[in-house]
């Protein structure tokens, strides 16, 4: 070991580094254009691609490409789901609880198996028995039957005006039941513990959509390839790659360099980097996600926040215009629980802020000298807008009416339990609907899910609850609009919530792509994208 020469070792290492660097230098552009491929960069939260378990924000983006449902959202038109696996001949009986869906002819799964009513029934029953994240969508179903091979009959417990919207979501994806049974899937009563289909569906899809899933490395890369057996017309895209890129600046860099075609999860502030680039188009779409303040209505928990006058003073003290500026182009101000895009949605006037009136209310409530309160705003963001930033704005605004806000920004997972149990006095939260209908928003009513979290009990609020019940089943759109607006007007200035923002979705797309449609349910309509020739 005497001749152990570190010198030689160093020389070799140095040479190696130089070689590596030069190799890297000459490789330069790796434009190995592999057919018609679209690459999307995004920070997604995908945990599973099993339609029976998935609820994550970007789940429908994938399931919309790989599966068919009875109804489907087309393009950006989230309000009017269109028949997809069923035909225009579908019907609803007079009790408004029995739906009959004749199935489209000649639909095959990617596996080559024919799609029949048995597959539809099996898929829905599986979801009902899985008791998983999709449970809310199927909760209203009494029975689902297949009178013949090409007809499906679904009976509801009560009329539900939002049922078609629910049908258009991943809970109702139709799975290849033959394939699934071979791979551990089951629709039995005890499916919650016996179904082993999830592991299979996380590796490949079992649907009839325009694409099929060919590989998925969670948290890294997901690949979709064209389904050769697809029944409908498809575009010229052969392959779609979804690349997990957590940092939005990196997405911008990669889009600019042509490494990706769509940078999907950006925020209003960093998108400015792309302004003026002529190979990229910046797009803004609307979402149904709203941020709101929750003021606990139980004075044992909320303290002064439980006072109705204080609650209104808080609403009046906030500089909504400033919030809108921070949130960026496309941001809107919801009047109450109903976001734009839902029936009867109303907006808050931009100049709603009225500090003088807020001060009067504080005085009336006996808090002329103000008080101190902790606002919990988790270390989280809504469409790229940090809750900490919103919290700092609120802190700043409430100072004007004497409320000293102390901010706390714990991890999101740490507060969920307290949130669910209604233990937080003053909280910033967001609400992202499970399905795109006003019925989903009724969780905010007193005594309902979110109402309970604000300790806002049903007692003494019969009028609101009655209105809610009318909305749930009302088929007539005009009447439903009227009820919706009435509800918003009642709740806007008399509830333990202050609705802040309805957040826009900002993303950027390479100009080589055509027809990139976005809606808040399926996000980018992957199957509709085409590449410019």
């Amino acid at each position: 070991m005497k001749k152990f020469s570190l010198r030689r070792l160093i020389c070799a290492a140095l040479a190696g580094t130089l070689l590596a660097a030069s190799l890297a230098g000459c490789s330069g552009q790796g434009t190995g254009s592999t057919g018609k491929t679209v690459v999307i960069g995004a920070a997604t939260d995908l945990k599973t691609l099993d339609p029976g378990h998935a609820y994550e924000v970007y789940a429908n983006m994938i399931t919309y490409a790989t599966y068919d449902m009875l109804f489907r959202i087309e393009g950006s038109d989230i309000e009017n789901p269109k028949p997809s696996l069923t035909t225009d001949a579908w019907s609803l009986d007079d009790s408004r609880t029995v739906y009959t869906f004749p199935l489209r002819e000649g639909v095959k799964f990617a596996s080559g198996n024919e799609l029949t009513s048995a597959d539809v029934v099996w898929s829905i029953k599986r979801v009902m028995n899985l008791k998983s994240n999709t449970a809310a969508h199927v909760a209203g179903i009494k029975s689902v039957e297949a009178p013949d091979a090409k007809t499906v009959k679904i009976t509801l417990k009560e009329p539900d005006a939002s049922f078609l919207t629910k049908l258009a979501s991943n809970a109702f994806c139709v799975l290849d039941s033959k394939l699934m049974k071979e791979n551990g899937g089951t629709d039995a009563e005890d499916a919650a513990s016996t179904d082993k289909g999830q592991a299979y569906l996380d590796k490949q899809s079992a649907g009839s959509g325009p694409f099929k899933l060919t590989s998925w490395v969670k948290g890294s890369e997901l690949v979709l390839e064209k389904n050769p057996n697809y029944w409908g017309t498809s575009t010229n895209v052969e392959k779609i790659i979804l690349k997990e890129i957590p940092d939005s600046n990196t997405q911008i860099q990669m889009l600019d360099k042509g490494e990706i075609d769509i940078a999907l999860t950006l925020n209003a502030d960093n998108i400015a980097q792309l302004k003026g680039k002529n190979n990229v188009e910046i797009k803004t779409a609307s979402t149904a996600v709203c941020t709101f303040l929750l003021m606990n209505n139980d004075s044992k928990i909320g303290g002064p926040m439980a006072n109705a006058d204080v609650q209104q003073a808080v609403r009046l003290a906030i500089d909504y215009q400033g919030l809108k500026t921070m949130c960026g182009e496309g941001a809107t101000l919801p009047w109450s629980i109903v976001p734009q895009g839902f029936v009867g949605a109303k907006n808050r006037p931009d100049n709603y802020q009225n500090v003088e009136k807020a001060k009067e209310l504080m005085k009336k409530a006996g808090y002329e000298k103000g008080f101190e309160i902790t606002l919990t705003a988790a270390n989280f963001d809504t469409e790229g807008m940090k809750w900490g930033d919103i919290g700092q704005k609120i802190q700043n605004d409430l100072k004007q009416i004497g409320i000293t806000v102390k901010l706390e920004t714990p991890e999101f997972s740490n507060i969920l339990d307290q949130y669910r149990n209604g233990e937080i006095p003053f909280l910033l939260m967001h609400w992202s609907p499970d399905y795109y209908d006003i019925n989903n928003q009724l969780a905010f009513l007193p005594g309902d899910t979110v109402g309970e979290r604000a300790k806002w009990s049903a007692e003494g609020h019969d009028d609101l609850i009655e209105l809610g019940n009318k909305i749930i089943g009302e088929a007539d759109k005009e009447k439903r609009t009227q009820y919706s607006q009435e509800l918003q007007d009642k709740m806007a200035e008399n509830s333990p919530y202050a609705f802040l923002l309805q957040h826009p979705k900002t993303f950027a797309v390479s100009k080589t792509l055509n027809n990139v449609a976005y809606n808040d349910l399926s996000k980018i309509q992957l199957a509709e994208i085409s590449i410019a020739e």
């Binding site: 600046n249 502030d269 960093n270 930033d389 700092q392 700043n396 920004t409 991890e411």
Partner: protein, 278 residues
């Protein structure tokens, strides 16, 4: 005072520079309210993302706050947190190490295994978990850092204690009937303080780096408190507005560098083998 004079007389330029930098930041921290041109938390949404100018030397951030004033105030948080972390680890470590080294035997063995266990733990990950679990706050992140930091001091103290235990003067005081504790505190520890001081000076830089790192990840201070790491992370989402991240980052960098310069200088000074090299 002779000690300090001798140190300052050294030819080591870096060391002096380190002292100047640290004194500078200490003065800034103390005088922040007097020298900051603006309220560090005052928002002005009409002046968001202003680049550096005569009015805002370091520009403004996403809420229109003056980055310069925030950087000045930030020194208070970062430096205090670093100092407390080091002080707490120092105190725990020195006691733990002295006991282990002085008692020896099985006790020493067990105590050292425990400290090794903590050292083998990836420091940042442990700190992240503790901070995430307990909820972010200055106290919690200082606590998280102290937990992973003390074993370094414990090990160093222990080795010094063991090496001086057999020295003549210790034996002499033992013969004179001094109690164990008395020997430990009066004879052994004072003689081992030098290397520990060097270590803690070098560590101060690291502690400030890690504290700002935790804040960068959202696990440190609560907004709107101006803290350098959190301020760097404010700028991450608006890359093109480079000034938001650049200046607070530069501040962390200089403070850590100052501490390292001083630590290096002290080490060289205390290491007799190197003293003539300087």
């Amino acid at each position: 005072m002779g000690f300090i004079k001798r140190i300052l007389k050294q030819k080591n330029f870096m060391f002096k520079l380190g002292i100047v930098i640290c004194l500078f930041w200490a003065v800034v921290a103390i005088l922040a309210p007097l020298i900051a041109p603006q309220d560090p938390v005052a928002q002005d949404l009409s002046r968001r993302f202003m680049p550096p100018s005569g009015q805002n030397w370091f520009g403004t951030d996403s809420l229109g706050r003056d980055v310069f004033s925030r950087v000045l105030y930030g020194s208070r948080i970062s430096i205090t947190a670093g100092l407390i972390t080091v002080a707490v680890s120092f105190a725990i470590g020195i006691l733990y190490g002295a006991v282990a080294g002085y008692v020896g035997g099985v006790v020493d063995d067990i105590m050292m295994r425990i400290s090794e266990m903590i050292q083998a733990f990836p420091p940042l990950i442990l700190a992240m978990v503790i901070a995430a679990a307990m909820g972010p706050s200055i106290v919690n992140s200082v606590f998280a850092m102290a937990i992973i930091w003390w074993p370094n001091y414990a090990r160093l103290t222990r080795s010094i204690v063991i090496s001086v235990k057999g020295n003549d003067y210790v034996t002499a005081s033992k013969l004179m009937g001094a109690s164990r504790l008395r020997i430990l505190f009066k004879e052994i520890l004072p003689n081992s303080i030098g290397p520990l001081v060097v270590m803690s000076t070098l560590d101060l830089g690291n502690a400030i780096l890690m504290f700002s790192g935790l804040s960068f990840l959202g696990l440190g201070v609560q907004p709107p408190t101006p803290e350098w790491g959190a301020m760097v992370s404010d700028g991450v989402s608006t890359f093109q507005n480079w000034w938001i991240s650049t200046f607070p980052g530069l501040a962390i960098f200089t403070v850590a560098m100052g501490a390292n310069f001083i630590g290096d200088g002290l080490r060289d000074y205390l290491d007799p083998k190197l003293r003539n090299q300087l």
